[in-house]
């Protein structure tokens, strides 16, 4: 009995091995195909947008206002609006993100329940759909804080209780907070223990160590986080749909209580609600190209800085 089983097993094994060569090639080929397909799609998107957008893409396009009911002219106000948005957003998000990351790496105990809750919240913030941030901005910033400020400060006159660039930026800063926290935390983790210990051994207090040793060391990490957050904030549209983005403005926003134009929102409006989608096609592609150049180049810079941090840590 035993021998019979052995024989069949041997036979089975050898045939399986021969078949497995082909099978292996097939499966490895399958995984290769997936990689090639994804990368090909990426370059096809890039290629088509560059190809279609290049005719309109010029300095004049970037530096002039839209004219003729947004069917001609440039996208200057949209670029400026996007810049103001990401700057105000960074001013709000970077300090908070950095401090939260400092807490998680420097102050939180290993088994701290509070730190675990913070981490969970940060990860939840990262997966909450962006449109929810828009709703929150509308419900919290505009209806609650803005309208409240109006009743207290302006005798009920409408100034802050409506969509504007400040509320849009703050909404966006909540969305990009996890990006900053994760990047800074990663950078803080690469700072060698010896540095902290040396500083503490010299008699510095914990806060002194953080301020004089840890923070200067983590500047590049904070920069990576900021750049990634800016790249994200520049491209997101859903959170600003009803917290401050405007269809068309003849002037640049003069104060934080003004509405603003935005690159992503401009693309959305032009491609879905424009009076003449066919005619403005080159403008749409060129606007998309500008936005893509902005976000992709920021991302490349962040990747390079991050790689440098990692190399340094080794």
């Amino acid at each position: 009995m035993d021998t019979v089983i052995n024989q069949t097993e041997n036979h089975f094994f050898s045939s399986k091995k021969r078949g497995s060569e082909a099978k292996g090639k097939f499966f490895i080929g399958l995984t290769q195909l997936a990689v090639i397909l994804i990368i090909a799609i990426l370059f096809i998107i890039l290629g088509i947008i560059v190809y279609q957008g290049r005719s309109k893409f010029s300095w004049e396009f970037i530096s002039s206002f839209p004219t003729n009911g947004m069917t001609e002219g440039g996208i200057f106000p949209a670029i400026i609006g996007t810049f103001i948005l990401v700057i105000v957003m960074s001013i709000a998000a970077v300090p908070f993100g950095t401090i939260t990351a400092l807490y998680l790496t420097e102050y939180a105990g290993e088994n701290s329940k509070f730190a675990a809750a913070v981490r969970f919240s940060v990860r939840t913030l990262a997966v909450v759909p962006s449109i929810i941030f828009g709703l929150f901005g509308l419900g919290f910033f505009i209806q609650f804080i803005g309208a409240g400020a109006d009743t207290v400060l302006n005798d009920g006159q409408l100034r802050w209780g409506q969509p504007n660039i400040l509320w849009a930026s703050l909404t966006m800063s909540l969305l990009t907070l996890p990006v900053i926290i994760v990047s800074v935390e990663e950078a803080l983790k690469t700072i060698p223990r010896e540095l902290r210990e040396a500083s503490l051994a010299l008699g510095a207090t914990k806060w002194q160590t953080i301020r004089k040793v840890i923070l200067p060391e983590s500047v590049s990490g904070i920069m990576t986080g900021t750049i990634l957050a800016v790249s994200r904030g520049a491209g997101e549209v859903a959170p600003i749909l009803f917290t401050g983005a405007a269809y068309y403005l003849a002037t640049l926003p003069g104060s934080l209580s003004d509405q603003f134009m935005n690159l992503g929102y401009h693309i959305y409006i032009m491609s879905t609600q424009s009076s003449d989608v066919e005619k403005t096609m080159p403008i749409q592609f060129a606007t998309t190209l500008v936005l893509l150049i902005l976000t992709l180049s920021l991302n490349v810079v962040a990747v390079i800085i991050r790689a440098r941090i990692r190399r340094k840590a080794k």
Binding site: I41, A115, A238, Q259, Q284, L296
Partner: protein, 399 residues
């Protein structure tokens, strides 16, 4: 003795210095932890404020009458965007604007000029005007049957702006599910296979190129992917398959797959890389070939992580707004055909919120959909976090 050796002022400053440092230490720690607390608070605030705006739906009968009336009164000054009063000058503008320049001269002209500009989209505002009047009527008509809103939730008709508004969430749910399934059928296998190649078969140098390139896809804003789908993919696939509606669930699904691929890829790649090397070595030592090790040892070992990756991918697709707005056609049709237009939850919020008025039923329903989306993404993340991570830890740390 001491006070004679050292001047009194100096000991005083030294002591005070010491004390000050302790205070600053204490303050620093407290401030830093309270800032860290903020991210927890934000999660709660998001839930509270998104849910709060949908509350009018939950108060029923006589209470709701009083509530809506009270709200209608209190809201007038603070209603968002365009109140009825504010719009009046614009709607009936023709007469007043014509008169004003004559009476007040250039100043008031500039005032009037500024207003529409600061609001931007004039056509949109015009749209809200009839809807305010209409919905005011609708609200008063609907008052005896406030629960009518509820009963319409489980139908498939989404007709938010009419004399008899119907908020059938079922149609939207089916649309969202349809797009999610299509997107995950494309993104799931592609991203997991690519992750498997990167972590098991690629040489170190190839890996260093592939990984950042695929992750670069995450840097594509969703509005760009939506635009690409709308302008290029839609026409391309229409030529290939020859269906009727240019924008449909399939196009939306393909575009959303592009958005979900980098998320699924990155997390599954991490999960695959986290499988202990001993697993691979043991498998290879037993005579298994490289691909057998990858598919029958590493892949199963990383299943919980890949499961988490797929969950987060679903979360991303489910809540994706811009791609849904631009590429799915936005018609709440109910059918099994993937080449029919659909309307998703997120796209409904995105397209209709700007046209609603603070406090009306439509507004509350949109916020209610928002709370549903939030709860769903929160739950997905919690499952991915606790269940999956717990399982992974158990597996690798020897039970």
């Amino acid at each position: 003795m001491d006070s004679k050796l050292f001047p009194k002022t100096k000991t005083f400053t030294e002591e005070s210095l010491k004390k000050q440092f302790r205070i600053s230490e204490f303050l620093a720690e407290k401030i830093i932890s309270s800032v860290a607390f903020l991210s927890i608070a934000v999660i709660f605030l998001i839930f509270i404020f998104v849910f709060k705006e949908s509350l009018p739906l939950f108060s029923s009968g006589a209470d709701s009458k009083a509530l809506t009336e009270a709200e209608a009164k209190t809201n007038k000054p603070e209603s968002y965007g365009a109140t009825a009063e504010e719009l009046k000058p614009e709607t009936y503008g023709a007469e007043t604007e014509e008169l004003k320049p004559e009476t007040y001269g250039s100043e008031s002209v500039s005032n009037d000029d500024l207003k529409p500009e600061s609001y931007g989209d004039a056509p949109k505002e015009d749209l809200t005007v009839p809807s305010t009047d209409e919905t005011m009527d609708a609200v008063s008509q609907n008052q005896e049957g406030e629960d009518k809103t509820w009963s319409t939730f489980f139908t498939t008709e989404w007709v938010p702006v009419s004399d008899n508004p119907r908020f059938g969430l079922l149609g939207l749910l089916i649309g969202t599910l349809k797009v999610t399934i299509i997107a995950m059928l494309i993104a799931g296998p592609l991203a997991v296979l690519a992750a498997l190649y990167t972590s098991c078969f690629a040489s170190k140098r190839v890996k260093e190129i592939i990984k950042p390139v695929i992750e670069m896809l995450a840097a594509f804003p969703s509005v760009v992917i939506g635009f690409f789908a709308l302008m290029v993919l839609a026409s391309f696939f229409q030529d290939v398959f020859g269906y009727d509606s240019r924008l449909n669930a399939f196009i939306g699904g393909v575009a959303m797959a592009l958005a979900a691929i980098p998320i699924i890829y990155t997390i599954s790649e991490d999960a695959l890389a986290a499988v202990p090397k001993t697993y691979t070595e043991a498998s290879l030592a037993l005579g298994a070939s490289k691909w057998q090790t990858a598919f029958f040892v590493i892949l199963p070992a990383a299943t919980p992580g890949i499961f988490a990756a797929l969950l987060l991918g679903i979360g991303r697709v489910f809540g994706e707004t811009m791609i849904a707005l631009m590429a799915t056609g936005n018609a709440a049709l109910v059918s099994a055909n993937p080449f029919e237009s659909v309307r998703t939850f997120a796209a409904t919020i995105g397209s209709e919120m700007a046209e609603t008025v603070f406090g009306e039923t439509h507004y509350s329903v949109l916020f209610f959909i928002g709370s549903l989306l939030f709860i769903f993404s929160f739950a997905l993340n919690a499952v991915a976090e606790f269940y999956v991570k717990g399982k992974l830890l158990k597996k690798f740390q020897g039970k």
